[in-house]
């Protein structure tokens, strides 16, 4: 890394700390201002006044919100994010338990759809207006337009209920205690439909971006020159044009890496996938303040870091980009 770049990254990281502080303060205020009471969940339908008072005191909810915020910040700086009301466990434990399934689902789907999308974009750009191009165009439009809950249900109806190829729900078979390779195969079978559902939207976006970028780059002078000096068309596309065309793709993928950790609420609900998206959803309904804050903090951090990394990758891909 050049000294310029190092200084740039350090400055961005310093800004990030203040940005995160803002994320905490704003979110903390917002969720405490929202109507609803976390004790409702704990009390069920049976709590009396004494129970509500005792639980408020136990969780410090009876103190002024500014004091609660200050206490939260003090804890957060020491790496203490409190206890989830619903789980009765440290927030960090609860979130960490959900990370592996989330990263698996989101990572596989992001990687697959990016590779497939760039490839499809490449192929269709070189055969613009062909039957293949048109069918990919229509297919990606449909994929982009379908809401996840609907696409997911259709995939289940076809591939699980009708054909019986894949299970309907879950991450692993509930009856078997598979080990080794058998476990991996079982996991992949459970992964197939949720990944397909999630990838539809992303695949469409990447394909269209790559195709448009490639079309533009291939029509530029440098591509024509490369053709003129006798380079094969495939080489012109992959070695010369793609590197420029792929820049917007980097931006989109970079943004998505930030949301990798947030999971995908709808897909996780439909396929009973034990990821972070569902945890966030449950925590919201339960008004589980400490858990909500923990998730917001994690997501905030990831988005900020992903943005910084994206900018650095940009500079690496495009030598004209200079940061100072």
């Amino acid at each position: 890394m050049s000294p310029h770049l190092t200084r740039y990254v350090l400055r961005r990281l310093l800004q990030a700390v203040f940005l995160l502080l803002g994320v905490v303060v704003v979110n903390f205020s917002l969720i405490h201002l929202a109507p609803g009471d976390p004790i409702t969940l704990l009390a069920g339908d049976g709590g009396d006044a004494a129970y509500f008072a005792a639980m408020r005191a136990k969780y410090g909810l009876d103190r002024p919100i500014v004091v609660q915020l200050a206490l939260y910040l003090r804890g957060a700086f020491q790496g203490e994010f409190g206890y989830s009301f619903a789980y009765g466990r440290p927030v960090s434990d609860v979130i960490l338990a959900r990370l592996p399934p989330t990263l698996l689902l989101m990572g596989v789907s992001l990687a697959l759809s990016t590779v497939a999308g760039v490839w499809l974009g490449l192929v269709t750009a070189r055969r613009a207006r062909s039957a293949l191009d048109r069918s990919v165009l229509v297919g990606t439009l449909i994929g982009y337009g379908m809401p996840a809950f609907w696409a997911g249900q259709l995939l289940v109806l076809l591939f699980s209920v009708r054909l019986g190829w894949f299970p309907v729900q879950g991450m692993e078979d509930a009856r078997q205690d598979y080990r080794g390779l058998a476990r991996l195969v079982d996991l992949l079978r459970h992964l197939a439909l949720p990944v397909a559902t999630l990838s539809l939207l992303h695949l469409a976006l990447i394909t269209r971006l790559t195709r448009t970028g490639m079309r533009e780059e291939l029509s530029k002078d440098y591509a024509r020159t490369a053709h003129a000096k006798g380079l094969p068309a495939g080489r012109v596309a992959t070695r010369h044009a793609l590197r420029n065309a792929v820049l917007p793709v980097v931006t989109v993928v970079g943004g998505d890496v930030g949301t990798l950790f947030t999971g995908a609420v709808l897909t996780e609900i439909i396929f009973a996938w034990p990821g972070l998206g569902r945890l966030l959803y449950d925590a919201t309904l339960n008004r589980d303040y400490p858990l909500l804050m923990g998730i917001f903090l994690l997501v905030g951090t990831c988005v900020i870091v992903a943005n910084i990394v994206t900018d650095v990758v940009y500079a690496w891909l495009d030598p004209r980009v200079r940061y100072s």
Binding site: A43, G47, A50, R278
Partner: protein, 538 residues
């Protein structure tokens, strides 16, 4: 013996019969005596159970949460159980004596019971569970027993004495594994029971032992070989799978991935009825929610709802048969009053009733002087409700519109709606599933007692005040004489049906759908799997 996932086939087939016979012959574990004509239970097999949300922990003594109890109740026991009619039967206590004056209950514990870690279960565990855990953190038990409990004694290892400040009739109805699970003193002593490590590695006395928990995904339990009830349980393993979406749960059930679903909905009744190999049951009770009535709450502090004729008119204007048919898909009954018709001992059918009658509703509103303005509107009422009651909101808005009452229908998430009605009190109409519990003292009184008008969820939301009703509730709670109690409750029901501080809409039931290869569930209880068995080898 685990069942394999089979591609694209329905469960069933002739090999299954062969399998059943083989399993039956090979099984050497003694089974409970079968009655003539009923199949004999066989031991073994795995049952996969779908639940809608993640339990998060397995300490049933610190929560009234449905999901926690559906899972953890199988690991624990109460002093008494509840039979199909919600009447007390022995569990950890073999028998009990009640003093003449009804203030002292003496429980004789089952000898030789051991915790899952091998330690002996004694009366000290019972005393500890109540004093240190249940009365602090189990909201319903704390609210119900704290005002009347004088003390708990453990005179010897197998005897527990509960003393009350007054005769206390409903005690036996609130000691089952959901209302008062007994946890181990040696495990929880010196810990904060809400955050103790043991909440994730529970040690109980129950029919199943805890094996493994994958957060947000599944919980695995296995048979307790040393269970104190001879021969029970039958199943080798019970796996609880978290499937939040009811449609996914139904598909998983149809595909054989799941054997028992707690979260199918009445809207799926028709699909379930035609599904091969799937049985359904409507249970009047669930762990923590017995005999529930979907109830419309009038804010009596907001005119014109302070006038009984207006409330009676609204009652007449609502077609509850239609709600039963279109929202509940026939599951449940049209309610007639504050006490469920299934609570045989105390239900009074001879009360004022309000059939769907638009003319009568209009006449009552005219009589109350609530005349229509130029647009034909007599009044506008704000109706905030949880989004789970959206269908009720639609029908109520439509039907009250027909008698000139405009309803502003506000759909909120459950927590926000509860806050708005009970704490903010910013509403004219509200809707709540009020559960009777297993005795009127447990779940009915709180809704009508004027001393329970508080900014607390599920209290007396209407702010209904009637000294006679308060007095009658006190009378019924302080005698053990069933006839005297029934008379007091009968009078209460008659008064309330005249004054209608609430509209009792539908007595709801819990729909359970399960593989027809499984038998003998206790669908109404947290111990639903204690006696369950499968002929299919699971």
């Amino acid at each position: 013996m685990a069942r394999r996932f089979r591609f694209g086939t329905r469960r069933g087939g002739s090999w299954r019969v062969v399998y059943l016979v083989v399993v039956g012959v090979l099984t050497s574990i003694p089974v409970a005596a079968a009655q003539d004509g009923t199949p004999t239970p066989v031991a073994g097999g795995t049952m996969v159970v779908s639940i809608a949300s993640d339990p998060g922990h397995f300490n049933p003594a610190i929560t009234t949460g449905f999901t926690q109890h559906v899972v953890a109740d199988s690991i624990f026991n109460g002093l008494v159980g509840l039979d199909e009619n919600l009447q007390p039967v022995p569990d950890l206590a073999d028998r009990w004596d009640i003093s003449e004056d009804g203030t002292t209950y003496t429980f004789h514990l089952h000898p030789g019971v051991r915790w899952h870690d091998g330690a002996p279960f004694t009366s000290a565990d019972v005393k500890f569970s109540f004093e240190e855990v249940l009365l602090q953190y189990h909201s319903r038990t704390a609210a119900g027993l704290t005002p009347v409990l004088a003390g708990i004694d453990a005179p010897n290892d197998l005897t527990v004495v509960m003393r009350f400040t007054q005769p206390y009739a409903p005690l036996l109805q609130r000691l089952d594994v959901t209302e008062a699970p007994i946890v181990a003193k040696h495990v929880y002593e010196g810990t904060d029971p809400t955050t103790a490590e043991a909440n994730l590695e529970p040690v109980g006395t129950g029919p199943y032992r805890f094996v493994e928990y994958a957060q947000g995904d599944q919980v695995t339990l296995e048979r307790n070989e040393d269970y104190f009830k001879d021969g029970l349980p039958y199943l080798d393993r019970v796996v609880f799978r978290v499937i939040p979406e009811a449609n996914s749960a139904l598909q998983a059930l149809q595909q054989g991935e799941v054997d028992y679903a707690w979260n199918t909905t009445p809207a799926q009744t028709e699909i379930l009825a035609s599904a091969e190999g799937i049985a359904t049951v409507n249970a009047p009770a669930s762990p923590g929610g017995a005999l529930c009535i979907n109830t419309l709450v009038f804010n009596l502090e907001h005119p014109p709802l302070d006038r009984p004729e207006v409330r009676q008119a609204i009652y007449h204007a609502i077609d509850r048969e239609r709600m039963l048919e279109q929202i509940q898909f026939g599951s449940g009954r049209v309610a007639t009053g504050p006490i469920s018709s299934r609570m045989d001992a105390f239900y009074n059918p001879d009360v004022a009733t309000y059939a769907y009658d638009v003319d009568r509703a209009n006449a009552l509103l005219d009589g109350a002087g609530l005349t229509a303005d130029a647009d034909g509107t007599r009044a506008t009422l704000v109706f905030p409700h949880p989004n789970t009651f959206d269908r009720y909101g639609e029908i109520i808005r439509e039907q009250l519109g027909e008698v000139g009452i405009e309803v502003e229908d506000v759909s909120l998430d459950f927590n926000a709606a509860t806050d708005r009605v009970f704490v903010e009190r910013d509403f004219d109409l509200g809707i709540v599933s009020y559960c009777n519990g297993t005795d009127p003292e447990i779940g009915v009184r709180r809704v009508y007692d004027s001393r329970n008008i508080r900014p607390i969820p599920f209290s007396n939301g209407a702010a209904y005040r009637n000294p006679d009703v308060d007095r009658l509730f006190d009378e019924a709670a302080t005698t053990l004489d069933p006839a005297q109690r029934a008379a007091a409750y009968a009078e209460i029901q008659a008064i309330l049906a005249e004054e209608v501080p609430y509209v009792w809409l539908i007595e709801t039931e819990g729909l359970r759908a399960f593989s027809a290869e499984f038998h003998d569930f206790q669908h109404w209880s947290g111990h639903f799997a204690e006696t369950a068995w499968t002929g299919a080898g699971g």
